[in-house]
Amino acid sequence: MTLRRIAVVSAGLSNPSSTRMLADRLAAETVKALRLAQGPDGEGIEASVDVIELRDYAHDITNNLLTGFAPPALETAINTVVSADALIAVTPIFSTSYSGLFKSFIDVLDPDALTGKPVLIGANAGTARHSLAIDYAIRPLFAYLHADAVSTGVFAASSDWGGAGDDVAPLAKRVEKGAKELAQSIARRDAATAADPYDPATYLGEGRSFGHLLGGLAGE
């Protein structure tokens, strides 16, 4: 049985939060889909889930923006996200885009930290009129970061939480579709391994010395 870790970032501001509700559904469905997927050993994939509510880190995130370093609790949260096998990122839509808190959290991550990471984007708003915000506002952010966002983004309007939200493609179906895509993306990859930035092999390359950084200057 292969083990994977999924980080869930929820940028909802209220408590309880419908953004968090969507995040939890996406996470649960992804875990379920992974069990049915085939890992490298031909068996299903077991995944653990760490949920990060950005509301809890709002002050730390601002402090990080001002001082350049993350206070301890935020640093733990950042490490959880960047070392995970996959990210489920869910934000409320404010003024046609992700919330400021969501963007500020992305801004304190190392710009390379999400490169190649499978991401499932979720968004939440009052009405379905905002549903394209995932594709014109949130997806470009992850494209810029070279994250690997799956093609389905899951948008939930308030009405989706009632029975008559969308008869053709009800929320549960869309959650299932996005989760399946994320599970497939995870299953295709080896488990995430963190490279230690302070290991000479990381910044010089395996078996290399400072002379290689000097190029021809040191005759190496």
Binding site: L66, T67, L204
Partner: protein
């Protein structure tokens, strides 16, 4: 030279970033002239209270005034007797390494060796294009420029071709380093492992900023530097030369220290309007309190980083008026540094090197023999032909007939 230049396990001093900041308690912003003269007064007072080092940053944008640290440090060296003058940092990325070689060799001569150089990459993106460079090349610039600087101080005649600078053919950087010994170099870093690697590769000093961030960041950098210092064959990891920054604010009573410093902390350019002073002091080396609290916090630094050679404190920033800074120096000199010297000397293994000084480095190179005294040869229209444009002291017999000795 005085006892200061003899063996001393650790050097203590202050460093300034040269910010001109409004005093939040009075609303008064000093003029550039006031702040420059005040910094001279502060630096001279550092010597008067028994500190060893004064270091100044290099910036090319307001609100900072220190764009020409070598000029300032030359004036300071002329007005002091024991103090080691240094930069913190000199921009290795945007300065022409030829100018650095010339300016700081000159500073070495006029200060009788009471200087060293700390290299860094700069604090603001626009400084790169202002000096014709590309910020995306920051690290390659730091690596190539230092390789040239290192060579210019060690070889009388340099042929050079690199990626970033005009090639040099038969170039001699003047004056040659005092006594034939290049200035000691510290490589300053906040987070870049490649800079720790660079310091280790050359066997130079490594200076960890130790101001802005939690100690864990610097622990990893210093540990890396020590391991790589040994890897490149300069000694054991414990023998690597480590310097640390730090920042403190003191008063006899710790609550008074907190009350007095808080308005400056809350409005400081770097961390103002962010974390509370209490949170920030817990997360970083900033210590606001009684002299004993400062002593306890900084005596523990070697538990985090190992025995080290230099401790510099930032004490003159964020709009603190001259009078308060001088009082801070009085407390540092009278109550804090003497105790720290004693505590950090206790149990320090004999194998850990003393802080680097010009005198000690001359002795390591020449023993008690004569040092190199470079004298330009007579009637040299160029320095492309022959061994060296210099005759060293003593001039060897037959030097007048072209049998000059090869340079250092």
């Amino acid at each position: 030279m005085s006892e200061q230049s003899g063996a001393q396990a650790m050097q203590f001093g202050i460093m300034s970033v040269s910010d001109i900041t409004r005093d939040p308690t009075t609303g008064v912003t000093p003029s550039e002239q006031e702040r420059i003269k005040a910094t001279l007064t502060i630096a001279k007072h550092a010597e008067e209270v028994g500190l060893d080092v004064f270091a100044i940053g290099e910036h090319h944008n307001p609100p900072f005034w220190s764009s020409s640290p070598s000029t300032f440090l030359a004036a300071l060296a002329a007005q002091t007797e024991r103090l080691i003058v240094s930069t913190s940092t000199t921009l290795i990325t945007t300065n022409d390494p030829v100018r650095i070689a010339e300016e700081y060799a000159m500073l070495q001569h006029v200060s009788d060796g009471r200087m060293d150089l700390m290299l860094g990459r700069g604090n603001t993106g626009p400084v790169y294009p202002w000096f014709g460079q590309d910020i995306r090349q920051g690290l390659p610039l730091a690596i190539e420029n230092y390789a040239l600087l290192h060579k210019l101080w060690r070889e009388d005649v340099v042929d050079w071709e690199g990626k970033f600078r005009t090639p040099l053919q038969g170039f001699t950087s003047t004056p040659r380093p005092l006594d034939g010994i290049a200035p000691f170099v510290w490589h300053g870093s906040i987070r870049t492992p490649e800079i720790a690697e660079q310091a280790a590769y050359y066997g130079d000093g490594f200076f960890a900023n130790n101001i802005f961030w939690p100690k864990e960041h610097y622990q990893r950098l210093i540990e890396l530097y020590r391991q790589r210092y040994a890897h490149y064959g300069h000694g054991t990891p414990e023998q690597a030369i480590v310097g640390l920054g730090g920042q403190v604010f003191m008063a006899a009573n710790s609550q008074d220290a907190a009350n007095q410093f808080r308005p400056y902390f809350d409005n400081a350019p770097v961390y103002g309007h962010g974390p509370s002073m209490e949170d920030f002091t817990e997360m970083t080396p900033l210590t606001v309190g009684s002299p004993q609290q400062i002593i306890d916090r900084y005596a523990a630094m070697r538990e985090h980083y190992g025995d080290y050679q230099r401790q510099l404190f930032l004490i003159d920033h964020a709009g603190l008026p001259l009078k308060i800074v001088l009082e801070q120096l009085d407390i540092l000199g009278a109550e804090v540094v003497p105790v720290l010297r004693k505590e950090l000397a206790q149990g320090r293994p004999a194998s850990v090197p003393d802080a680097p000084t010009h005198a000690a480095r001359v002795k390591a190179e020449f023993g008690d023999g004569p040092t190199r005294q470079a004298r330009p040869g007579a009637n040299r229209g160029d320095n492309l032909t022959g061994d060296s444009p210099y005759e060293d002291t003593p001039a060897p017999a037959g030097a007048a007939f072209g049998l000059s000795r090869k340079g250092a």
